[in-house]
């Protein structure tokens, strides 16, 4: 059938099952918006294109699908870059469609022209400039295929204005087949057999899981595997929720702000089974000292993750879910012996680490930020979807909220991008309208995309923002306190808006707690009203996140409370 590029785009989006697009219009995409308005696809008008990408990211993570954005050329496109970079670092499937000036003007420094394909080449999984309307359908199909398959990631499609207007005959395309792109899902069985043998002989085994487990939907398989083999589990920040946070085998998060027992276990284990991780420096600390006594197994779908930072004895390239499924079957066929007895000493040791150095803070007359998160966990029964900003707030959320399910903790892990939490919460709320969605925020970060409160109010999305208001760029202040003799250069942000009034100005609800005894009632009220809410908790200003591994130190050498 003869159609315009804009119409073809809509057809392919529908075929790909897209029901929500986050975007912001402009000259180069007016024609696409004109067609979009005629479809059933829901468009969420954000207030800044960075917000659109983070919202699509939150949507993708909460739903397990692909997040889609539509923005105009030039500044619209450049505003997406931070969001794309964050999604790239965290392997989140997105398709970002940017308008572009007409093909005959490309390269002329035309009005609102930027080479967004060039700019985003290093922070997308792949990107395209569509030069001809005949290529459009195929390109969009490929973009979705690449975004969601293998190790997922953002794909950008740059669409010149004239391509959207030109016509072509359109036939729905079947499967995408790219000869140069074939992710390996099926692991090598011999390698998996070796892992089971190692488990048989290990005395101090440990599982270290990451975001890959959540992305491949392998949480149930992981949980079964750990329980079956009685191996304790730690995860990276990105892996929180991949294993139940209330299970006795759960050790808490690993790394710079990991728990004492998770980090000590990593130092002492003799077998480290790493699944869907990439050994970020915030996880490993000093790499030579990382799991130095262990035989390291690494399962990941991305071959470049393997042996990039850490030497590995048993590399396995494959999908986490497929691999864990096979491992479970192999473990069933193997006599692993009396596991309780075999693990007793190791699990006792871990229990001892836990009891000597649990996560802790001192309750004083000021509100402690950890207390706010603890109360939030209690009042929500651990069932909320939590997004975070970046800094101390993010680490306290990771430490004190316990996740029993995957896709419930949504944070900018790899890029550590302030301003992520509120738009991500909006995306998550759209994906899961019946769930409670809370952004645990810092007073600094929240100001980076606060304009998205208008989006939340416009679409009646009852997202709750919990500001841990310490009057500082707290995480940077913490480093200054510990490593720069308390020289707090440019980290005091007491000159801030009144967040309660600000919430009200947006048409949302604003609440504040200044004393510990107000925390619970403010949370209760804020969580129960049906509107978007900002809750402003005036917390202890100079509280720090512990444990902390100084950058570059072995993760077993922690500063403790």
């Amino acid at each position: 059938m003869e159609m315009t590029g804009a119409q073809i785009l809509m057809e392919v989006l529908k075929q790909e099952g897209v029901d929500t697009i986050f975007g912001f219009p402009g000259g180069a995409v007016i024609d696409i918006y004109d067609e979009l308005a005629k479809t059933e696809i829901r468009h969420i008008l954000v207030r800044h294109e960075q917000g659109a990408v983070h919202a699509a990211d939150g949507y993708a993570r909460a739903s397990g699908g692909v997040g889609v954005c539509l923005v105009t050329s030039g500044p619209g496109a450049t505003n997406t870059v931070t969001g794309i970079a964050s999604a790239y670092m965290d392997s989140i499937p997105l398709v970002v469609i940017t308008g572009q000036v007409p093909t005959h003007l490309i390269g002329n420094d035309a009005f609102q022209e930027v080479d967004i394909v060039g700019i985003t080449r290093p922070c997308t999984k792949h990107n395209y400039l569509v030069n001809h309307v005949d290529d459009l359908a195929k390109t969009i199909k490929e973009a979705f295929h690449i975004a969601r398959s293998g190790r997922p990631g953002p794909v950008l499609v740059d669409l010149p204005k004239d391509v959207g207007n030109a016509t072509s005959s359109y036939e729905p395309l079947e499967e995408v087949n790219l000869k140069s792109y074939k992710p390996t899902y099926k692991p090598n069985m011999n390698q998996l057999k070796k892992i089971v043998q190692l488990i048989e002989n290990a005395r101090r085994p440990l599982i270290f899981a990451g975001g890959g487990v959540i992305l491949s939907g392998a949480s149930d398989e992981l949980t079964r595997f750990a329980r079956k083999t009685q191996i304790p589990v730690t995860t990276s920040l990105m892996g929180l929720g991949a294993f139940p946070g209330t299970d006795p085998l759960w050790l808490g998060m690993i790394g710079m702000h990991g728990t004492y027992r998770a980090n000590m276990s990593t130092g002492a284990c003799d077998l480290l089974i790493s699944i869907g991780v990439r050994f970020d420096d915030r996880v490993t600390g000093k790499t030579d000292a990382f799991a130095a006594q262990a035989t390291i197994v690494h399962i990941d779908i991305d071959p470049t993750s393997i042996r990039k930072n850490i030497p590995v004895a048993i590399p396995v390239v494959g999908d986490c879910k497929v691999s864990l499924d096979h491992l479970n079957k192999l473990a069933d066929q193997t006599n692993l012996g009396d596991l309780r007895q075999k693990r007793e000493k190791w699990l006792d040791q871990i229990e001892q680490w836990k009891s000597t150095n649990p996560l802790a803070y001192k309750q004083e007359d000021k509100i402690k930020p950890q207390y706010v998160v603890e109360k939030l966990y209690e009042l929500t029964g651990g069932k909320a979807i939590i997004t975070t900003e970046v800094g101390q707030n993010q680490m306290w959320a990771a430490q004190y909220y316990h996740f029993d399910r995957p896709n419930h903790f949504i944070t900018s892990g790899g890029l550590g991008c302030m301003g992520f939490g509120l738009p991500a919460a909006i995306g998550a709320q759209l994906a899961c309208p019946d769930k409670l969605v809370v952004d645990i925020a810092g007073d600094g970060s929240i100001q980076m995309n606060i304009q998205e409160m208008a989006t939340a109010v416009q679409y009646c999305l009852p997202v709750k923002t919990v500001i841990l208001n310490n009057g500082y760029l707290g995480m940077v202040r913490q480093w200054q306190e510990l490593f720069y003799e308390k020289r707090y250069a440019c980290t005091c942000i007491e000159h801030a808006p009144d967040f309660v009034k600000l919430a009200e100005a947006f048409g949302a609800v604003g609440l504040r707690a200044t004393k510990p005894e107000e925390v619970e009632s403010v949370l209760k009220e804020g969580l129960s009203v049906p509107q978007p809410v900002i809750m402003d908790f005036m917390v202890e200003k100079e509280e720090s996140v512990y444990p902390m591994v100084p950058a570059g130190a072995p993760i077993t050498e922690m500063l403790l409370v």
Partner: protein, 177 residues
């Protein structure tokens, strides 16, 4: 010059653990693909010693040949990272004697009367050719392995090399006999 490739010459130990490797890859012949490859090297701090690109028999596919220096783990990363690029169809490490390697140079050498015969004699010995002649210069075209080019350049230096343009190596795996 000899056609044989000694592995010693090929895998030159550069410093302690660094090795020189030659990768050849087939890529989609599309705008931006070279930039993806080169951007990967610069973005990840890998180095490029030389780079040759041209279309293959199939106009939709180009061949890129890159020489790089790195230690073993980094070489492994380079190969994997290149493979991960959606536009890279196939990549192969052609270091070692299983592949034929050739480089080319154009050397503009000063050709004063007293040296003209000597230059032509060397050109003859090296089985290369003079492709441009002037009153004061020759341009010599030479192809061969790096060692041959290096030797010729050394011999020409005393006459005075005015300009030089060199390619990096091209490589093709030898077919089984």
């Amino acid at each position: 010059m000899a056609d044989k490739n000694t592995p010693d010459e090929d895998i030159r130990i550069v410093n302690m653990n660094e090795e020189k490797h030659i990768f050849t890859m087939l890529v989609d012949n599309e705008p931006g693909v070279l930039s993806r490859v080169v951007g990967l090297f610069s973005g990840r701090g890998f180095n490029i010693d030389s780079l040759v690109v041209a279309e293959t028999i199939d106009p939709k596919i180009s061949r890129i040949t890159i020489v790089t220096k790195a230690d073993r783990p980094v070489l492994e990363q380079i190969e994997k990272q290149l493979n991960k690029l959606v536009n890279v169809i196939k990549i192969r490490d052609l270091t070692g004697p299983e592949a034929v390697k050739r480089e080319m140079a154009l050397i503009c050498v000063k050709a004063k009367t007293e040296y003209r015969a000597e230059i032509l004699r060397i050109v003859d010995i090296f089985r290369c050719q003079v492709v441009d002649v002037g009153r004061e210069h020759y341009i010599i075209e030479v192809t061969g392995e790096a060692g041959k080019l290096e030797a010729l350049i050394q011999l020409m230096k005393p006459m005075g090399i005015k300009k030089i343009a060199r390619t990096g190596p091209l490589a093709l795996i030898r077919e089984p006999n």
